[in-house]
Homo-oligomer: 340 residues x 2
């Protein structure tokens, strides 16, 4: 096994990037100069960046390195889609202990390249460095969108429908399961982790996808959301972001929140309420968006998303109607990368 | 002192970014959505990213946090200028132990904002996270340039002049000085560090500048370099990058390498040869560029840069002519972020 300290930065970068093929005509120059060069003509560009830190965002005990690379890209693409834009380029910065093997870094990059392949984005640059301890990955993603199509989070209007794509809470319960089995393993390393039947929630946690298909579907049915955000920190937190930015209130219905059957099952196993995981868990990378009531016919009964409520006047507050009919103020208990 | 763990990520970001004012008309949307939105019309965009890791790239024992923030931005802008482009936007990702105070993070950001102010760039987004240990800063910078003006590193031609801006080696000796005084301090904390008279080399190490003025000067005298790179890892390493990318050789003259008098003095104090610091040290953030011999009259005797040699045929090798007249093959002993 070659330690990365043995080959040095330039050789490592060469090893990791020799397979890069540029896919987008807007990418004039990718890796190999001081900076990448893009040409977008009359399109608008969206830019986002996300940091994944070992011990904070991921645990290498149960996170395969390939999945980690994949996820590091996907969480950024999710932000690009949330602008109603199409991701085109990424840069990747990695700080990694030089005790890691070259093989390990290649594993990370194999996940990065797989995500690039599946989502049609170009890796156009990055930086690679030692770390004193721990692994840190920072991805910056760029995407394009025409002026008319870009969707912000500050433009939800009273009476707009509130929708979410896919289902929520699964990634959170996937994390709880991984943490539980880790504790069991720490107590008794001979016990095999119990992961059978949990494939869906584990995959949602370890290898999430960005909802490229939802953006395509909205285009297909000719609906432009009035506001949109991706759900990375829990539904509550994201909904409050939209309400705050748009100066509106909202009313959503607990029973409308889409939750997969396997998420429901494991929630019961943990003696928890599944919708709490949806509201306050994180890392679903689904899309939360609002749309005019005029688009109701186009949006209803679509397998890609669910109508969960509507935007209200700011004075009406941010309300969730629970299954028993009580109205409760929504508070953000979303995942916080800073608080302990 | 408020610990950052007490206020959480969103409040921290709010605290750190409330003063941001966008300066560039190409910045349609900065912080506050999933991604930033840029509009460049028919310009090309250049993108670069750099990672600074505590214990690898900086030592908080002698690095003021404000300087660190400033430097994290400047090293990226230097890459943008090296494309003959004008930096316009940056994103900043910071992973920081939540034992740091809010005041400390504000110090870092005050340096970031100062650099934004001085170089006319917009902070358009970022990510903030805890770290288990140590501080990591990743900056991504975007800049614009017209198609005709962009300068790559792979287009140096035989007989082109080789030039460097400013002077070299000072940042390296600044680092040696800081490390020396740190060792003295560790042995005897009562001894005050000896920094008088060393202002220039210390500033070059702790608060480097990107050569915006050199790019402006080249435009003013109407010279477009045939290739360009910024000097972050030592002159040898960067020159070899240009030669490799352009499939050429080179011949430079040790006596022509610009070295400041104070750098010369401290090199003697360390019983070292100053030009070794210039060739193999790092972090000068000067520009190394090549230009057609036809531009010689425009380039000679310019206070912004020095002609240090010329591009040769690949078969002639990469040669430095030392002060005693011997010809020596240039090898890269530049700073490597991975090797120990």
């Amino acid at each position: 096994m070659t330690k990365i300290s043995e080959i040095g930065e330039f050789k490592l970068i060469e090893t990791l990037t020799e397979k890069v093929k540029l896919k987008n005509s807007s990418t004039i120059k990718g890796i190999g100069d001081d900076a990448a060069v893009l040409d977008y003509g009359y399109k608008q560009i969206v830019v986002t960046t996300d940091l994944l830190v070992e011990g904070i965002h991921f645990d290498l005990i149960y996170t395969p390195l390939k999945h980690l690379g994949y996820k590091a890209v996907v969480v950024n693409l999710s932000d690009i889609y949330a602008m109603n834009a199409i991701p085109k380029q990424i840069t990747v910065s990695i700080a990694i202990s030089n005790k890691f093997t070259v093989k390990a870094t290649e594993e990370i990059y194999s996940g990065i390249y797989l995500a690039c392949e599946i989502y049609g984005v170009d890796l156009i640059g990055g930086d690679t460095s030692s770390s004193v301890t721990g692994l840190t990955i920072n991805v910056t993603a760029l995407g394009e969108v025409s002026k008319e199509d870009v969707v912000y989070r500050n433009s939800a209007k009273k009476n707009d429908l509130i929708l979410v794509s896919g289902d929520l809470g699964s990634a959170y319960f996937g994390l709880l399961l991984l943490e539980r089995e880790k504790e069991v393993f720490k107590t008794n390393p001979d016990v095999q982790p119990k992961f059978e039947g949990y494939d869906y929630i584990l995959e949602r946690q370890l290898k999430p996808e960005a909802r490229k298909d939802v953006i395509a579907e909205l285009k297909k049915i000719n609906v432009k959301p009035s506001s949109m955000i991706d759900i990375s920190d829990g539904l509550s937190s994201e909904l409050l972001h939209i309400c705050k930015a748009s100066n509106v209130g909202c009313k959503i219905y607990e029973e409308k929140i889409p939750i997969d059957a396997s998420t429901q099952n494991i929630a019961e196993e943990f003696s928890m309420v599944a919708s709490v995981g949806a509201l306050s868990g994180g890392e679903d990378y689904e899309l939360l968006f609002t749309a005019s009531i005029k688009d109701f016919e186009k949006l209803k009964n679509n397998e890609h998303f669910e109508i969960i409520g509507h935007i209200a006047d700011e004075s009406e507050g941010k309300i969730i109607v629970t299954k028993d009919g009580s109205e409760v103020e929504i508070i953000a208990q979303g995942w916080d990368g800073i608080k302990e």
